[in-house]
């Protein structure tokens, strides 16, 4: 039997709290654990994130750099809150990250 099987590990990380300078280190540590386990493709679902500051953004950029250097990538799911979306546009995150409306759409790109 001629089979061609590929397995891909993609971490889907759903964040439900604000991401600020207090809890960003915890998020980073959890993402570091996943990277250490060999996962290089990530969907970060930010739809329920009410607030994201520059420390949170730094975690996302750091993950992106590390994932891409390991041939992986990071896709985001847009926050539902319009103001949080605006911050991602203001900082031009939407030009660097692929940001989808839903988890399913984010996964499709991989």
């Amino acid at each position: 039997m001629n089979l061609d099987i590929s397995l891909y590990s993609i971490a889907i990380v759903v964040v439900r709290d604000r991401i600020d300078a207090f809890n960003a280190p915890e998020l980073r540590s959890r993402l570091d654990q996943l990277l250490a386990e060999g996962i290089t493709r990530f969907v970060l679902d930010l739809s329920d994130v009410p607030f994201l500051d520059s420390a949170g953004m730094a975690v996302l950029v750091n993950l992106l750099k590390r994932a891409r250097s390991a041939e992986g990538d990071v896709r985001l799911v847009w926050p539902k809150r319009e103001e949080t979306q605006r911050i991602l546009r203001l900082t031009k995150f939407d030009r660097v990250f692929k940001i989808a409306e839903t988890q399913a759409a984010a996964l499709k790109g991989f």
Partner: protein, 160 residues
């Protein structure tokens, strides 16, 4: 002209950022600040306080006083601390022309504060410590409804 003022004084750390955000959110609601501006005010104050806890107090607990007030149609927020002197000129602005993934991480907080607020000034004196004053123009109601009537009034025509 009715003015509005609220103060929060705390000895805190990064763990208090959510509480500080809630204070700004509540003050905005009480002062009937333009909803579109509330997030900007919360964000600017969060970035300011993060910088204070991280750099002025080196991660240790420190004293911060926040004052939220309206002056006419402007919101003015004053943040005071007694940590290490902050020199905004010592923070290189992020090169926004660089692709995000090539930008050094850091410096974004101050940049965001400047983007989100209309006026921003830092002063330091050994006696009074760091004083940050940030203003956002035209986001407070012309004549806030009084608590007794709760009556809303039409916004005034914008000045030419």
């Amino acid at each position: 002209m009715t003015s509005f003022r609220r103060e929060l004084h705390l000895v805190g750390t990064m763990a208090d950022l959510a509480r500080i955000g809630a204070f700004i959110e509540e003050a905005c609601a009480q002062a009937h600040i333009d909803p579109a501006a509330r997030f900007d005010l919360m964000m600017a104050v969060d970035e300011a306080c993060s910088n204070i806890f991280e750099h002025a107090y080196n991660g240790l607990a420190g004293e911060v006083t926040l004052r939220f007030e309206t002056r006419g149609r402007d919101v003015v927020i004053t943040v005071r601390d007694h940590g290490r002197a902050f020199d905004p000129d010592g923070v290189p602005p992020p090169d926004m022309a660089l692709p995000l993934e090539e930008r050094p991480i850091g410096g974004l907080g101050l940049h965001l504060m400047r983007q989100l607020m209309d006026d921003i000034s830092f002063t330091f004196s050994p006696e009074h410590g760091n004083i940050l004053v940030m203003a956002k123009h035209g986001v407070a109601p012309v004549d806030p409804p009084t608590p007794t009537t709760g009556r809303r009034r039409s916004p005034a025509r914008p000045k030419p």
